[in-house]
Symmetry: D2
Subunit: 478 residues, 4 copies
């Protein structure tokens, strides 16, 4: 699925004894790589000394064995993977951000998006502050630092800072002696922690990163909670809990998270499979085979198959070396591009009525190509089913949805879209259903579905400010 | 599946007009990357001038846009991907091999393994020949060159050379004016060709590479056939056809080839699915769910599920960034290593009786880890089914099977193996069945199953020679 | 000469038309490479958009053709080369620093060292400022930004900032529309400007950089002067001129600057040659040949030879590929290390009484090795002459002199030192003479010689603050 | 000096105990880097196992610490540096060449050029041999291998091979148990050996490489000599000694060798200085200052100064970082290019009558630029003196002299040339004098001066063959 990007994954580890925490951060980030492929970084805390490295690139390109070794041992480490922007990439924006200040050193890793960062930035600059990046994380680090000057402890400063920063933030903050996990009052982005056999604690955006280092899942950080890990144990500060409705981004289940992660009590694979089952109920069709678009459509395809009784099959082979930089063919051979990444298995679809499952349609061009691939491979009918509602609104909480101009659903009915992409029929999952995919009753309930239905759970940036801010950012981008 | 390696993939393109054939070779090799990940190379033929580049690394690491551009335009290109050896890699062994000789320039790309290369090499060295690599391909290039001195044409030299070289070889040879595809008399390794919309011809180890450049599959090269492409068209030389029984390596279907490839009339995915179905017939079991080990066990898992009626599920998530170099955790955390590459989806297997499908068991250690992953995730029972017979014999035709010492099936009964890997039951596909997975009746029939049953279709290297040769090679490896 | 480092070189270009200013900055920095070999950076100003790249490494390693091209065209560029620290290098400290602020963008490149940066940093941090580097340049950028909030123009802000920053600074500042050159009130570090045939202006630490881009030298920036280049021409702000005695670092002539540079009216080569002549007057000796230690002792050796009448010769060959990273031999073969970098020409010194000229003795170990090289090559006598006085005091203005503990002159008399390094005699240039090497009468006069005689022209950091500051820096060094 | 290239430097070490010979080869090659900057390689012999690495690039770029370590320990090592071709570089041509053959392994490093390589290559190819490179070294390795089949020992094979190969070759050959140094019958290229304090032997193109590893010079290998080092000591085979007149390339003294090297009893610096003195005698002039073009004109400038009494001065500063890849300015700013590499010291030449010494004039363009630099810096007169005769003929022994078309001396008188380069007068050293620069009487006498006077000491390649061969090579160059 093109046109969508999440803002980052975070990983922290707190050990009671110095050891090779850099390597564990490496495995954790590797498990979270799907949340950000532009840049990554690791900061190791060796008794108050912060050794770090960050650069543009995938985790296993940036961190060679030598690089990891050079970070040394420590009792804490903080890591981050960042999403990829198109065009020029900026090494400066890589995280974690490390701050050296008279009141103490601090490293921050952030996932999410503030809704008042323009105002905060303006306020800070007018006091003489200088920004080196265009990221919200630097704004947060300033606010915490300001509050720190008047606070007895870093967690106190974070608590105060939460009164000023608005929007979506799952943060991990490392001070010389503490590791602190923070989640915004609505809980937009996931954050959980686990425990290793030796008693160390691990904080991560998703539970799959806990698994990768052998940590056992303990629980999600609550919305509004500040959780402090230090030598004396764990402390939960809950002043901001319960102040706002719980609003986890439902798209974490639909697209962002890894299927083996469990978020707020619900396994992502099962949520997607359930989305497929709901789709089968909402849009049944007579067909011979159900195939998913790899990788993100596979889980829902299984759900559709089970619910409908139509056999599940592997319809496409995705080239598994594609994760890396790749030289695109020229414009005239765009069709090939799809075949290079994705090739249909002719024997599976030839002469068949095919149900094709994907997790979204953004501009429609990719979907059109995939439908054509199936037709060229001999499919008799292609019925496309999308395991999420159509995108109609911008997200201010960290999902980088394409512009309204490009979103096919903003300009075309479902029937028109089906025609445009060449499908015999098309169905999007209903908003009602998508709210229930993550085990509705059992879960803590409350999902943000604003990108589908425009129901924003917070104040949103005023249009003028937003566009002005966007302009500013694009200008200052190097 | 660890412990098995194929020897290479080949790709050639013959165009009637000069154009960016390097880029097409790049896409073709990218589609064949699974056949060799150590090194790769491309030779472009620009009206008799051979421009080439080869190096250690994956296709999209070795060939940047600048590198491709530097190869220039041409009307032919020859490419190769080579398998990865453990330990020291040798840039010298990268292919294609380019030969500059008084009788003309020539480039060769080879997939397979000669059975008489020790004798040929010895004979050549005693005449004063010097070898720069340890590869069979260099031996082949010498033999063709020798024959070339007395032959009116290169295809004639190739035809004569085929009387001297024994064993497995799928070759593509490029001379200043011709592209030649050659397959050994038994047809051990696949080789096919296709046609592009503009009339260009493409030769490749697998049809998925034809798809990637938009070429339409024409047919497989026949066993023993020499197929010559030049400005006057295509010419087939069939002097060596029908001289030996057709013996395509059955492991191409089981493991090597990409599921979307069609080899000798049979789709690889379907062959694997059929293997799964046969397994279900041979080793039925009461269970709740069928899961495959990604990626190579997935196709057979679907076949098993369909045949048995036990629901198919996604049991594991494989980290999709793993194709790249990766820093292994230390010895003591080997268990983690599996979780870093492969993580079970707890919700799918917890409390279930699981049928686990993989395509082979080599040493048993990986299988043991995967079974343990399922048990740790709460599986009540684990029934392992292997979609191929057990390895019991060495392969002399290009598959690098682990040593007898390491092969678990050489030392343990099926029951013992099940116990060692921790499975409740274990079943290998029978040799009879594996011979039928590739559409038995419809196919041209005749598969090499020597690694399973010891039935070698050719004379094999004498033990003394073999061990001496092996010693020599390992010594001269840099 | 080991143990001495200068803090950086700066280069700016202001053109009236957009063009390939990045390439000119590249040539300028290449000419200034001797002033800083750790890291480098270039910022191109394309009508207010700042495109930049900076990294660790030499100029021609960091900037490939592609990298330069990616910076695009513009009408201004600012560049910087930074000195090399031992041990861990920090990409973060690379310059120029680029600041994006509500009052406008700004890039700074700095050569020198502030004496009150600890106090300024503390004051800023207590207001909530965050520092990302350990460099004075970031402090300066904060001070200018603070003043900018209350100033009508950037040059006004710079003018005010000069009331607050103390010590040595030669700065070039680029705003969207202006290029500004600034030199501290004492003029510790050199800074000059020139004009290109097309009317563009070039600012550089040394005139050799003007030569490299074909610019004609106009004049030095005066001590305390602010020189503003914009579309309307050049403006000089002289509020800070004449407020303090002129105190150019004399070591610029002795060691830092390139011999072909002309600083404040005096050619560096001639100053060194004059130092050699003074040495010959102060420490005459009966000898057969005068040789200099390449490269920095050669100029003085010529002066000594001319004054004394003893023939000048090439005594050593320095490996010209040594500028690059180099693998050091182990401890036991340290003697070789010198022969790898420097090899004596036996025929020149064998059986001769040799006068050996170098520009400094720091720890004495290198000098001892060089004397031994001459003796091993057959020199009968070795008389060492040093073209500067002995180091006895720390420098607070940007020269990183070795610690007192390591300085041989702090612990040994001249006679003792001669014995320790194995020389038959030794002479340091007197402080009185070194003050006259740069054309005394003709020059503007006034040199800082504090490292030799302890005569600091400014208040120096209080010992407590200094050591605290030093501690802080070393801690926060990553 | 542009337009001239030497073919390579060789280095071998033979130790009686295994140790880090790779590092010593590294230092040796680093000292010989001036003889070849395109590619380099090292082969370590660990009890018959040959570990090697070779690549395009400078010694300290190709060999990192890790790379050297990966070569392991051994009791012999062989190294090579190769000259740089313009345009496409070919990793294949890097040396040493390693040959794995049934009669034993062998590594070769070669400096020189065969005169009958076309014939030998043709003969070998017609027997079926295949060549992978375009280098003479591969031809030599074939001839030795052929002879090896009928010889009791490798030195015997080398001895027989010497009957077949013609032209210039200084070779070092490493077999599993022996290190062999060979020099052609005329002794065109230098080769010497030395002894380390621990009894190890070192063979090198120049004595400066012996110095760099702490070896003491023993003697030059004689023309025609085969010197064998093995566990039983040193053996000299002299069957080819005295068969041809001694004809060391005089250009080794004039340009190729490092000034600190001693070749056949004469120090290179002194030979150059003597050339300068002879120049002063042949072309005296009234002038104020003598300056040399760095680096190769400096030694002769000192000789000219001493003989004439005109003071020697440093006239130019050469950027010492230039050894590395460098981005050239565009065509229109070619003048700058010289200023980037070379900048005159204005104070030294302004208002002066300058004698400018260089070691050659090839096309004249560089000389013209340097003369202009002096004039622009204010020189009143420029008298150019060249410390070698003018090039008029091609070299078949390893010096890559520009084509006749480009050589200015082939088309212009001395007076015309002076005018073309803008000099007030011009003088080339006479052929008679150049023959005496290397201590005439004391030396073994006999120098090849064919490039100056056309007096070829051997049969030269027939014109037809030569041009055909050249064509062939250029075609097969990738």
């Amino acid at each position: 699925m093109a046109g969508l990007r999440e803002e980052c994954g975070v990983f922290g580890i707190f050990s009671y004894e110095p050891r090779d925490v850099a390597r564990e951060a490496y495995y954790g980030l590797f498990a979270l790589q799907h949340r950000g492929q532009e840049s990554c970084g690791i900061v190791v805390n060796d008794d108050g000394i912060f050794n770090f490295y960050k650069d543009i690139g995938l985790v296993n390109d940036v961190f060679s064995r030598e690089r990891l070794d050079s970070l040394g041992k420590g009792n804490m480490a903080l890591g981050h993977v960042r999403y990829g922007t198109t065009g020029a990439t900026d090494r400066n924006n890589a995280q974690p951000i490390v701050v050296n200040h008279i009141k103490g050193r601090m490293a921050l890793a952030h996932n999410g998006n503030l809704t008042n960062s323009y105002e905060l930035r303006r306020e800070l600059e007018l006091k003489g502050s200088i920004f080196h990046t265009t990221s919200d994380t630097e704004v947060i680090s300033y606010i915490i630092t300001e509050e720190r000057l008047a606070s007895p402890s870093i967690e106190d400063a974070v608590n105060r800072a939460m009164n000023r920063i608005k929007g979506a933030y799952s943060l991990v903050i490392m001070s010389p002696a503490k590791m602190i996990a923070v989640r915004d009052e609505n809980g937009f982005r996931p954050l959980c922690y686990g425990k290793m056999p030796d008693g160390s604690y691990v904080i991560a955006s998703e539970s799959c990163a806990l698994d990768s280092v052998g940590a056992e899942f303990v629980r999600d950080i609550d919305a509004g909670e500040i959780l402090v890990f230090d030598q004396s144990g764990i402390k939960s500060i809950r002043d901001h809990c319960g102040k706002a409705p719980h609003k986890l981004c439902v798209f974490e289940y639909v697209y962002f998270a890894r299927p083996d992660s469990v978020i707020e009590g619900c396994c992502v694979h099962e949520a997607r499979s359930r989305a497929g089952a709901y789709l089968a109920l909402e849009y049944p069709v007579q067909a011979d085979v159900v195939v998913g678009v790899p990788d993100s459509g596979l889980d829902a395809a299984i759900g559709y198959s089970k619910q409908s009784g139509i056999p599940y099959e592997i319809g496409f082979i995705k080239n598994k070396y594609i994760a890396r930089t790749f030289i695109s063919p020229g414009q005239k051979s765009r069709m090939n591009k799809v075949k290079i990444k994705l090739n249909p298995i002719t024997g599976v679809v030839s002469g068949k009525r095919v149900v094709l499952i994907d997790d979204s349609i953004v501009r429609g061009t990719t979907s059109a190509r995939i439908v054509k691939l199936l037709r060229d491979a001999g499919a008799k009918e292609v019925h496309m089913r999308v395991s999420a509602p159509a995108f109609l609104n911008p997200c201010y909480y960290g999902t980088d949805i394409d512009s309204r101009e490009n979103l096919i659903a903003c300009h075309h009915t479902v029937e028109e879209t089906a025609k445009l992409i060449g499908a015999d029929s098309l169905g999007y999952l209903s908003v009602d259903s998508v709210k229930r995919i993550a085990c509705g009753e059992k879960g803590r309930g409350g999902y943000c579905t604003a990108c589908f239905d425009g129901d924003y759970p917070t104040e949103i940036p005023s249009q003028t400010q937003k566009s002005r801010f966007e302009k500013k950012i694009s200008e200052s981008k190097k």
